[in-house]
């Protein structure tokens, strides 16, 4: 041991009094065409970040074609009535801007960032993409061929294969069961499907514009009103989907990847959405279980046993149905041992109250990292957008830390019992069946698939 001789203070310094969080100046309004606008000032650099979101994604149109919202978003940036693809990309560079256009299950988003001095031309381009996308036929064909290669590549990634299988198992007939299209589904896309999605869902009444950065909010609002003037469009008709049946009893799904030198574990069960009254409680429970470096799961299977590099758990907040999941990429010979510890830690949280000092640490953790998430332009943007897109109360961010700090061991015990449904967890393992099948089947009835989704 390399101890040097200098005297050392042996006592950990305590915490000094906390400084209050100063909330950024925030403006919320709705334009006459229904577009909801949120602006927050943050002057760290002479730039801003923005996001124009539409409250509809792949789940809204899964019956027309899985991944159609994503394909639409991809082709949106390839041409407008005024600019061809190459000009769009060069114009972005000319104004020092970045732009992305994509869709998840619930939301379509055009994200952008640029220099404050060149805000108006960037807003102008975003407006064009939202209203005047041209969907040029050759660009559509090219992006579709590109997508075909992407979906093939996805099937070689253990993380993708695990989440694809878990979502199928948890959501059955519900649109959330599909995380990506198959090759034949991509091949079946028609340009008309995209333009129809665009007309129906890219409307101001369905949209939210959030911008954070170095600008004066009232000036920026005037620019926004000018740029988006004359844009009209209704909120799309709601598209109710029946709730998925929740799987009962533990089952194991093995996705066979010959030659895999490691096993990706992903287990999960239904939980709650972000606007559920128990969300903060479940967030803290998750953080204690496997959501932080200092959590029980990480300390157990990484720092004590060395089974894995990156274990973690999460509450996945899809808009209609949330789910809890735990993942770890582990050595092939410790798949059963890792699952044993994963369930041991869940069952311990369900059986015994969390000791108050450990809970206090976790409360501090969640409340502290929340403040840090607000300290960058894109961090603040993502928090503000989350609140608005999930219809959370206006004071959600301001009161979040108080809510975390009020939680007790009894709250956590009740939450773990209610939502970490150990007996109903669905277990996915992605790896080489010849190395892990015997271990996997110890945990429930086993089904085996190949990477293409064929049952073996």
């Amino acid at each position: 041991m390399a101890t040097r001789t200098a005297p050392s203070p042996t006592v950990v310094p305590g915490l000094s009094p906390e400084r209050p969080v100063t909330w950024p100046k925030c403006t919320k309004t709705r334009l006459s065409n229904g577009l909801e606008v949120i602006l927050a000032e943050s002057q760290a650099i002479p730039k801003f970040h923005g996001q124009l979101s539409f409250r509809s994604g792949n789940a809204a149109v899964v019956d027309r074609g899985p991944g159609l919202a994503e394909m639409t978003a991809t082709v949106v940036r390839t041409g407008t009535k005024l600019r061809v693809s190459r000009q769009i990309e060069e114009d972005l560079r000319r104004i020092g801007a970045d732009l992305s256009s994509s869709a998840g299950a619930d939301t379509t988003g055009i994200g952008f960032a640029g220099l404050s001095e060149l805000a108006e031309p960037l807003l102008g381009l975003v407006n064009e993409l939202a209203r005047e996308a041209a969907f040029p036929e050759p660009e559509f064909e090219r992006e579709r061929r590109q997508k075909l290669e992407e979906v093939k590549l996805d099937r070689t990634q253990p993380g993708f294969l695990a989440s694809e299988r878990l979502r199928k198992v948890l959501f059955g007939e519900h649109p959330y069961a599909t995380v990506a299209p198959t090759e034949s589904q991509v091949a079946a896309y028609k340009r008309g499907d995209l333009t129809q999605f665009y007309r129906e869902f890219y409307t101001p009444e369905n949209a939210l514009l959030v911008m954070v950065g170095d600008f004066d909010s009232s000036t920026m609002l005037k620019s926004i009103e000018k740029v988006f003037d004359g844009w009209t469009g209704k909120k799309p008709a709601p598209h109710p989907t029946p709730s998925p049946a929740q799987p009962k009893g533990r089952r194991v799904y093995l996705v066979h990847v010959p030659g895999a030198v490691q096993t990706q574990i992903l287990a999960g069960c239904h939980a709650i959405t972000r606007n559920h009254a128990d969300w903060v409680k479940l967030g803290l429970t998750n953080s204690l279980y496997g959501g932080a470096f200092n959590s029980r799961l990480v300390m157990n299977i990484r720092e004590d046993k060395g089974y894995t590099y990156s274990p973690r758990s999460a509450v996945n907040a899809l808009r209609q149905h949330g789910y809890f999941s735990v993942s770890a990429a582990v050595r092939n010979d410790v798949v059963a041992a890792s699952l044993t510890e994963i369930f041991y830690e869940i069952d311990r949280l369900r059986s015994l109250p969390v000791p108050e000092p450990e809970l206090a640490d976790a409360r501090n953790y969640l409340s502290g990292i929340f403040s840090m998430g607000l300290a960058t332009q894109d961090g603040l943007l993502s928090q503000l957008a989350t609140v608005a897109l999930n219809d959370l109360p206006d004071d959600y961010l301001e009161t979040y830390r108080e809510k975390v700090r009020a939680l007790t061991p009894a709250d956590l015990l009740a939450t773990a019992r209610k939502y970490l449904r150990s007996a109903n967890m669905q277990i996915v393992v992605v790896g080489d069946r010849t190395k892990i099948e015997d271990q996997a089947k110890l945990f429930g009835d086993l089904e085996i698939y190949d990477a293409q989704g064929n049952k073996l």
């Binding site: 950990v12 760290a44 560079r93 030198v261 200092n294 501090n364 300290a375």
Partner: protein, 436 residues
Amino acid sequence: VNRSQIAMEYTTLANGLKVVIVPDTSAPVVTVGVYYKIGFRLEPQGRSGFAHLFEHMMFQGSANAPKMQHIKLINSSGGLLNGSTHYDVTNYYESVPSNALERVLWLEADRMRALQVDDENLRNQRDVVKEEVRVNVMNQPYGGFPWLDLPPVAFRNWANAHNFYGDFADLDAADLADVQAFFKTYYVPNNAVLLVLGDVKGDEGVALAEKYFADIPAGAPPPFADSREPEQKEERRGQVEEKFGTLPAMAVGYTAPERRTTDWCAMALLDQALHGGRAGRMYRELVLEKQIAVEADGGIDDIFGYNGPTQMVTRILHKPEYSAENTLAAFDSVIGDLQEHGISEDELNQLKVKWRSDYYSTLEGGRGGMPRYGLMHLLACFTLFDNQPQLVNSILDGFLAVKREEIQAVAKKYLRPANRAVVFRTPVKAATKEAA
């Protein structure tokens, strides 16, 4: 033009520890970093991967903060922490609510003063690191491509050419004596910089640095092996097997000019002309127009963060119906066009606006939920490599002064076959048919 000027305190303690404080009271949050001037490039021969394994050991316990305590103390203060190993530096950093600043400084000082780890800790982290290598490299399609594939082909000096993540045999061979020797040699205050960014006043920050770090004795100046490369006289090529992916891939790396020269600035903008996302020439030609490739991007990775030979790398995944030679020919025609015609004034202006905008984002950007990582990283590298953290306020000027002729000249001088290496990563299996 609005320019960000960053105010800072810069001082060196009597033991040689450099200290940079950047006050910013906009949020009650502070980011602390300690950077040591040693990375995987100069780890000991026969111990590939050791600098990174050692980084893991720095979380395993110090004299007054045994295993688990470091992580627990930071998380329970409401903070996040991490470390990372780079070519020429290794960093340890934390972001916490500012009321925990002294606690963080105490922890960093404790492990700079005395690492206290045992065989069990080493066995544990060796296992963790092997799973890290498996999840990022061995069990991933295109894992480690091209950052682990190119160096052994491109370079001849072991320092630049070895497996930076580590051969498992070398990881297995590493013992506690190696750990303590490495610590004693490189983890001395006179080979490090402490950075504090955020909710602290400049003079307070310096006083706290004194309070916690001043009594750590200086060590001998660390020895640094020579990392220079012998002159390259011919194109170099290599082959690597791709076990999971089904698309053929290739990477082309050109050795970059020495940092902080006029050529280097021109090369950075040339890099943007080639690789700047969808507007970049490589993506436009190979993916959008010729439609040979599915991916074509790259660049000089972490351009401010290295201090030795490095490359500008293009990474291409192409469709199986095009041969590797045809794909390389398409790549070469993009390079040839730049050498022959250079770039227009309009394109250069676009590149400069984008470069400036990206630079601001680097300064503001966080990493893994920790704010101010980007600024911290630049300050640390400019301090350790140049003894000038203030370069963050002037480095941009060199890029904005680049002229068209310089771009073309650099294209001719550096983008030559005899200055490059090409690695082909070839799938062992063809795509299988999807389920009906």
